[in-house]
């Protein structure tokens, strides 16, 4: 009897493990069996409201009217360097998704995204891209790896309510770095909140130090022919760090929580705990959809530039790239979707209005200042098409929108960008955490470290 029971148990165990294995093996469906192509696409970010997801699903329906043979499955997704390799290896990566300008080149070099030159060149506007914007999606040979979109310039975001409480005029944001420093001190003295905050973590410290260096006329890397060298040890970066040091230790206007990343600083700002900070000009969208910022408190102006002829504003954006494992049909479908979802609305009135109308139906922010993917004329034209739908407080953003086209746009450091940013993170953190930090020595060490990385 005992033996008998043992046998039954064994059979059950084998059956159970077989089921597990079978479950592991299934899941591959043949996307093209019925003549239809199925693609999964980045839809909305984790943490976004249901309304954001709904508006994407509505746009999918619109897309399907013109493309009945393409099945688009939008997914909750956000570019994260951490999860990307596992998703790539495990086959759970969407067919197409956005990657920041900064990371595109690395993915190209590692052949982790697909070459879509043929598909992009077939688009009607392929020749009219702003060259420096398209360059973010190209390799050295000019092959194209995606469609650029969401091009932003860095801007200075400020809390109008804190400005008022501190006795400052929210319609007159600072126009020089001396004013930024003075206003920050005034905000802290009058309200007790940090007058100015800056990102320092997860490579954002380097991103921001680069932005401020550009604004002072300095550079982080210089390219001469085929070689790129680090020029971190320059007077402009030293000047920026010196000012941050003064604001942190003498004015005490930067608060005491200094290890901030992108999400952290947005959260603090939306909660009214930051007077001013520098970030991408499009961050208002995330402040609304993720952090529920009070629109009345929001203000945006340009990052002040010094008189240096080299002073410029750092720009960035996203490239809608395609999974390296995608088939030719999937690549075509993915580029079609990106054309519809991200780019066509910038050049065609019907597409622009349709997009704005769909977003408006679910109360999504429309009209947050971005920079031209094509040229300034097309950009202005597009703003006019959607003028009736714009629902962001544009009057509180005129400091940026009236002045940004007078600013010289400078691209991010071209080589090993994120790694160099990582090196700069430590520099900013040191200056903000150690009152006796030796800025000259920090810059010289960082330059050596960056040179070592660039030489790899």
């Amino acid at each position: 009897m005992k033996q008998h029971r043992k046998r039954i148990a064994a059979v059950v165990a084998v059956a159970a493990s077989a089921t597990v294995l079978a479950a592991c093996g299934s899941g591959d469906d043949d996307a093209e069996a019925d003549g239809k192509v199925t693609i999964t696409v980045e839809g909305w970010r984790p943490g976004d409201e249901q309304a954001t997801a709904d508006s994407v699903k509505d746009l999918v329906k619109e897309f399907n009217k013109a493309n009945p043979d393409i099945v688009v499955e939008p997914k909750e997704w956000e570019w994260k360097a951490e999860t990307f390799p596992a998703q790539l290896a495990g086959g759970t990566l969407p067919t197409t998704f956005r990657v920041p300008f900064t990371d595109t080149l690395g993915l190209v070099q590692r052949k982790q995204i697909a070459d879509v030159t043929e598909q992009v060149e077939a688009l009607p506007y392929a020749d009219s891209f702003n060259e420096s914007v398209l360059a973010a999606a190209q390799d050295a040979d000019g092959n194209i790896y995606g469609l650029p979109s969401d091009v932003y310039g860095m801007g200075l975001h400020y809390n109008r309510q804190l400005f008022e409480e501190a006795g400052l005029d929210p319609d007159k944001p600072p126009t020089t770095w001396d004013e930024v420093q003075a206003y920050a001190k005034q905000i802290t003295d009058e309200t007790g909140q940090p007058g100015y905050a800056q990102m320092t973590k997860d490579n954002t410290g380097g991103w921001l130090l680069t932005t401020l260096t550009y604004a002072h006329g300095g550079r982080i890397e210089e390219t001469d022919g085929d070689t790129t060298k680090a020029v971190i040890d320059n007077p402009e970066t030293a000047e920026v760090l010196q000012r941050l040091h003064e604001m942190r230790w003498d004015d005490k206007s930067m608060g005491s929580n200094l290890l901030l990343d992108w999400a952290g600083i947005n959260q603090a700002f939306a909660a009214g705990k930051v007077g001013m900070y520098v970030g991408g000009s499009d961050v208002y969208n995330a402040l609304v959809t993720t952090n529920s910022v009070d629109p009345d408190t929001y203000g945006l102006t340009i990052v002040p530039l010094t008189d240096s002829p080299d002073a410029g504003i750092l720009g960035g954006g996203s490239v809608s790239v395609v999974n390296a494992k995608a088939s030719k049909a999937e690549k075509e479908a993915a580029v079609k979707w990106n054309d519809f979802f991200r780019v066509r609305k910038l050049v065609e009135e019907d597409a622009a209005v349709l997009d704005a109308k769909t977003l408006a139906a679910s109360d999504q922010p429309i009209g947050t200042p971005l920079l031209p993917v094509f040229d300034e004329e097309t950009w202005k034209q597009q703003r006019e098409w959607i003028a009736d739908y714009i629902n962001v407080p544009v009057d509180q953003m005129t400091g940026f929108t009236d002045n940004i086209f007078g600013q010289n746009l400078v691209a991010e450091p071209p080589s090993h960008t994120q790694e160099v940013y990582g090196v700069l993170d430590a520099v900013v953190q040191k200056v903000l955490s150690d009152e006796n930090a030796d800025i000259a020595e920090l810059l010289s060490t960082a330059n050596g470290e960056a040179e070592r990385i660039l030489a790899q």
Partner: protein
């Protein structure tokens, strides 16, 4: 009586006797477990060996590069920083973290009433999900004068302390949280071990005129030495692999003062997307695993004499 019994011949086991003896059903019962372990535990270990000798983009075929990844890791100036930070964390955790559960367990075992309540309280932090615990402690560690700990310090005229924002405070702050989070589990183990100490030994010590400290020193600790030695090596292995606290609290900052070996492994693989260097990451992981294996072997060899009870 010199004749001994003839040596018993080991019966030869044919496959059928093996099956009849229950060998097959044992194997079959073991199979699901072996599969799960093999698939999710051992296979990844084997893969990481392979990967440490390769450069791969996870799409196309990997390229064999011999020991290049190991050389690159050894040449990285961050390795020294990360190694020192890890040793520093382990040392601090040993000094603060190792005695705390023992003291708590000894005190709790001496309680006449409410033992259950106290052991529940001690174990509670283990039940709190680690990420939640870190979020909670981030509030405690708020560096502004209105932060929880700084408010408490303010009552006695101290602070404010830049808990996580200063290169010399950051690591001790992480150790305090890690000790809080992990002590409960060890307390339970010690409490169980304390129960097994024969009460007659305490009675005998009492007759000999021992006070509480002498009883602990001469009875409790020697009786618990096996378990103490094991928890010590488990703690060293655990703290050498510290990742969660530096990752969630400080991301290695400020100025790399909390970048540990595991965080460096993570950075190689995922932290900076232009690195994407899975080969270097696995190479460093293997070196760490090898180092810990050697350390544990040496430790058990050295302490073998003590643990024989």
């Amino acid at each position: 009586m010199t004749s001994a019994a003839p040596p018993r011949r080991r019966p030869r086991r044919s496959p059928s006797t093996w099956v009849r003896g229950g060998g097959l059903s044992t194997l079959v019962l073991l199979l699901p477990m072996l599969l799960v372990f093999g698939l999710f535990s051992w296979w990844p270990i084997v893969r990481s060996f392979v990967m440490s000798l390769q450069v791969t983009n996870l799409v196309g075929p990997a390229e064999w590069v011999g020991l290049d990844n190991f050389q690159a890791v050894l040449a990285d100036p961050m390795l020294g920083t990360a190694l020192w930070n890890t040793v520093y964390f382990a040392l601090l955790a040993l000094i603060f973290g190792y005695p705390v559960p023992l003291v708590l367990a000894v005190l709790m075992s001496d309680l006449r009433r409410g033992k259950g309540v106290y052991s529940t309280l001690a174990y509670l932090p283990v039940v709190v999900p680690p990420a939640v615990a870190v979020l909670l402690w981030k509030f405690f560690y708020d560096a502004s004068p209105s932060g929880v700990f700084n408010t408490i310090l303010g009552w006695v005229g101290l602070g404010p302390v830049p808990w996580l924002e200063d290169t010399s405070w950051a690591m001790p702050s992480l150790v305090v949280e890690a000790t809080w989070a992990a002590a409960g589990g060890t307390v339970i183990i010690y409490l169980a071990a304390l129960v097994s100490v024969p009460p007659e030994l305490y009675d005998a010590a009492e007759i000999d005129g021992s006070g509480i400290w002498r009883k602990i020193w001469h009875v409790t600790l020697p009786q618990m030495r096996t378990i103490l030695l094991i928890t010590l090596v488990l703690q060293i292995i655990g703290t050498a692999q510290v990742f969660l606290e530096p990752y969630l609290f400080t991301d290695g900052g400020p100025d790399n003062s909390t970048t540990t070996l595991l965080l460096l492994v993570y950075d190689y693989a995922f932290g900076n997307s232009l690195g994407g260097d899975y080969g270097k990451a696995t190479a460093l992981s293997l070196m760490l695993a090898g180092g810990l294996a050697i350390l544990s072997a040496v430790y058990f060899r050295l302490t073998r004499r003590w643990s024989d009870s």
